[in-house]
């Protein structure tokens, strides 16, 4: 921009114009998002009824149960490893090339496409371990996917505990591990739990990782009897209903989409409430 050009228009006018434009952009983003999500809630809530939920065949109930199994098992696998890794990063690791490498690895894990996790799960759990398409294989695959989320949330929670608290405990003669277990972890628990809830929400909505590792479509026997049975899961159900199965009433699809979104968003809201509560605490 030339010097003259700069003064042709009053900068304050430019500012007004630019800010107006930004407000406009916000509306351009908000209108389709609110419109579509609103439409989905409207169609979904309209389609949802008790019969559709509890119906044994083609109902939502099996998918809800299946997804619950899947996310619980996922958390059971991811939580100890993820929290362990976070403890290592915040309490044990010394700055240096190794730490740098670990962080780079975690960042990259978070960026691996979900369908690639699905391929890994297929190659490792389904084929190499011979588990076949089952709950355990799907849960382990999803656990890897949410691991970076668990690690970073837990590490942040651990780092917020003031140094003084640790030093006090050490000064009283507690060992490092005792300090971590009795002082640091309990205080970081709300933050860790927030991270776990968020990772549950993420795992509940993922389709690609369970596509070849766990999910199946079944009308007759949807409930797994063991962790080595395949499982009916909500996102996969929605995918199959909207692309593969004939004669599925639109109402069923909308209801499934609605319940899935409600579940995922509900978990996120719970997580943010836990986090807000945590923020109120002052050290």
């Amino acid at each position: 921009m030339s010097a003259e050009g700069r003064h042709l228009i009053d900068p304050r006018v430019t500012e007004k114009f630019a800010f107006g434009l930004l407000w406009l952009v916000m509306f351009i983003i908000a209108i389709p998002v609110v419109g579509i999500i609103g439409y989905m809630l409207y169609r979904g809530a309209g389609a949802l009824n008790w019969e559709l939920i509890v119906a044994a065949q083609g109902g939502l109930y099996p998918a809800i149960i299946g997804t619950t199994y899947l996310v619980l098992l996922t958390t059971a696998v991811a939580a100890p490893i993820g929290v362990g890794a976070a403890i290592y990063l915040s309490e044990y690791a010394r700055p240096g090339p190794l730490l740098r490498l670990i962080r780079l690895a975690i960042i990259n894990l978070a960026g691996v496409p979900s369908v690639v996790y699905g391929l890994f799960g297929l190659a490792a759990f389904v084929i190499l371990f011979g588990w076949n398409r089952c709950l355990a294989a799907g849960a382990c695959t999803l656990a890897l996917l949410v691991l970076p989320l668990v690690i970073s949330a837990s590490e942040e929670a651990l780092r917020q505990i003031p140094k003084g608290l640790r030093e006090g405990s050490l000064a009283l003669g507690a060992s490092k591990w005792q300090t971590i277990r009795r002082v640091v972890l309990p205080n970081a628990m709300p933050g860790i739990i927030t991270g776990l809830i968020l990772s549950i929400a993420r795992a509940a909505g993922e389709t690609a990782p369970i596509l070849f590792t766990a999910a199946f479509y079944s009308l007759s026997d949807p409930f797994p009897n063991s962790v080595f049975d395949p499982v009916v899961a909500m996102p996969y159900q929605l995918f199959v209903m909207s692309t593969e199965m004939p004669d599925v009433a639109d109402a069923n699809k909308w209801a499934t989409a609605f319940v899935l979104v409600a579940l995922v968003l509900g978990l996120n809201v719970i997580a943010s409430i836990v986090r807000t509560k945590l923020r109120r605490r002052r050290w």
Partner: protein, 300 residues
Amino acid sequence: MVKRRATRVGEWIIERLIQLSGMLGIILVVLIFLFLLQNSLPIFKERTLGELVFGQRWSPTHGDGQFGMLPLLLGSLYVTVGALVIAVPLALAASVFVAEIAPRRMREFLKPAIELLAAIPSVVFGFLGLLVVGPWIDAHVEIIKVGQFAALGSVMLAFMALPTIVSICEDAFHNVPREIFNSSLALGATRWQTITRALMPAARSGIIAAILLGLGRAIGETMTVLMVTGNAQVIPKGLLGFLKPIRTMTATIAAEMGEAAYGSTHFHTLFTIGLFLFIITFAINTIADVIVRRGEKDIA
């Protein structure tokens, strides 16, 4: 004494376990790479890398199988670039808005709202694109022949990548020292001038990293593109290619793995696509990380 020793042994074990889980990130990245590689290697006994990457025809069950990935690579490129062209300006505007312009109360509402948008599962975006957005565009836009095309995937992906880009950009704005902002205002610059000439340059590395991470997310997205882009394995040509059906790498894996015979050439080729995806996203994320780190050093 005995008890004390037992405790110590217990602690030693626990600390080793913690150390192990700390290393797990590295171990996992290496394992994922090795598994993909191991399952891809058999294909290279039959085809050369050049035949795979530059082959123009993807038709796995035709003859001995044609595994040219060029249509898929270009398909991913089209959808992703399209998504970024839409998402980046919108996301930049939104992040400036949230960080500097929105009234306090509105900001408190917008930030969680954007996080919630990020949480919506991709299969739901695909569902909405397939059932609502695609047919609507097909009915109202003359030039669109089928309600499943590349640009529709780009639009859906743009909205999915938006929250990622916005929140990282916003963090970057936050990390810019307030003194820069205040001294610019004190020199008589308007807030807009300050935002464009002081704040954005200072947050440059964060913005670039945000775009790269959005790029990584868009390339790897699977279910949405599988459901809305029509999956025709054509080599897209020119700008018109955006309005035609297209097929991405991720959608190919998701659509064909269930039917492919285990251990067949087709099966291994799908793993090769996965390997390429892994390498591409790995490069993008590593570059983003390097840029962020350099930016942090600059500010410090």
